[in-house]
Amino acid sequence: MKALTPLLAVLAIVALAALGGLAHASLVLLAVFVPYSACAVFLIGFCYRVVRWAWAPVPFRIPTTCGQQKSLPWIKPASLDNPSTGWGAFRRMTLEVLLFRSLFRNNRARLHDQRLVLGEDRYLWLGALAFHWSLLVILLRHLRLFLQPVPVFVSLLSRLDGSFQVGTPAVYVSDVVVVGALVYLTARRFRSPQVRYISLPFDYLALFLLLGIVISGLLMRFVFRVDVAAIKQFALGLAVFHPSVPSTLAPIFLIHLLLVSTLAAYFPFSTLMHMGGVFLSPTRNLANNNRSQRHVNPWNHPVKTHSYAEWEHEFRDKLKIAKLPLENEDAGKIAFD
């Protein structure tokens, strides 16, 4: 089964982190060396891939559109789905990045009374939206552990996110939403035979890593509680390159840290690069002005042509002798390019 290998891999990482905290040498390795390496791999790998994409030639616009192109003045164009200007493309991209508009058009094929029926399927869009937005909120909330003093917007966000205060520590809305969304997105890959067929081990690996990170984070907050001030001191030490490893770090924290490091290091090699790639989708970020403007392939080789006018000029005398009709009787007035 394709999901088993990634599950075992994640469990192996968890076991490694839990055991690694026992000896001081391996603790330093796990708490200092691994996070630094993972950050370096993430940043360098991310930049490398985006720069590679930036240098890929885009000679022409790819008009895969979902609406009426700008045409005659009395035909109403779909300025958002088929933008003809850069501003329109910017608006389409903004909605794509913030609201996943392409995913909203997701549909599902089903056999209904031996007929193929295509229906709307908005749950993937809803699950993706819930997951990504709550992940963003969680990442921003984590800034409280990396910045001193804590910025006001981070405190406000935490307060807003934790406004459903159930006991102590407060339960964050984003935590509840991200668990629900991840469970749905994982279950979706197992439930539908079509999705299960196209799912690769890497798809499961990303999901299991994220689930592991979320679960270990929640356990750290609600079950095996840790000394937050010590964690922050450690995180700030890492950020300013003066790492000071406490003599003991809770195993649950090391598990969380190693899973995050793994995800960060794996990021540039995986489909998770859609984070940067969504901005560079050629079918989304280019205005469809293929008909109103001439796009010349910039690296076209200059082809030597021989037009009919030139041919007629070359054989003018012979054509006249053969009494063939000439398109241009007055040869001297022809202007050649």
Binding site: L43, F46, C47, V50, V51, W53, A54, W55, P57, V58, L143, R144, L145, F146, L147, Q148, P149, V150, V154, S155, S158, R159, G162, Q165, G167, T168, P169, A170, R225, V226, D227, V228, A229, A230, I231, K232, Q233, A235, L236, G237, A239, V240, F241, G276, F279, L280, P298
Partner: protein
């Protein structure tokens, strides 16, 4: 082709945002990054639970005390070392030892960005001179 400066600008912005903790820490050298020392009570050496437990789990202890005292009427807390305490944070914790809320609770809560405790929504801390606005 013409989009390269735009892409590189976006990438630079992303790297700048992701590395915020690094350059924020490098630029602001004045702010101490280590956890602030908390004012410990002069006369009492031992809390109702070991320090490591209190550091990570004091909020659960306080909540358990509240639930057990208010809902079940159990007001005696037998500590790990056999001593018994009254499950009354105002008397046992605040009045006896941690008299200054800002200097004791506030320091770590501010440092770690933990939301302001809502204990004082109900409990009276008007005896304090340096009362902070919640």
């Amino acid at each position: 082709m013409s989009d390269r400066p735009l892409i590189l600008a976006g990438l630079t912005l992303f790297v700048g945002l992701v590395t915020t903790p690094i350059w924020h820490g490098a630029l602001d050298r004045k702010t101490a990054l280590t956890a602030p020392p908390i004012k410990l009570p002069a006369q009492e050496k031992q809390c109702v639970a070991p320090t490591s437990y209190m550091r990570s789990s004091h909020m659960r202890l306080l909540e358990d005390w509240r639930n057990e005292a208010v809902r079940d009427g159990q007001r005696q807390f037998v500590a790990f070392n056999g001593k018994t305490y009254d499950k009354n944070p105002t008397r046992t914790c605040v009045t006896a030892c941690h008299t200054d809320r800002k200097e004791f609770c506030g320091r770590c809560h501010d440092y770690a960005g933990v939301s302001d405790p809502d204990c004082w929504n109900c409990h009276n801390d008007s005896h304090q001179a340096s009362r902070s606005a919640p």
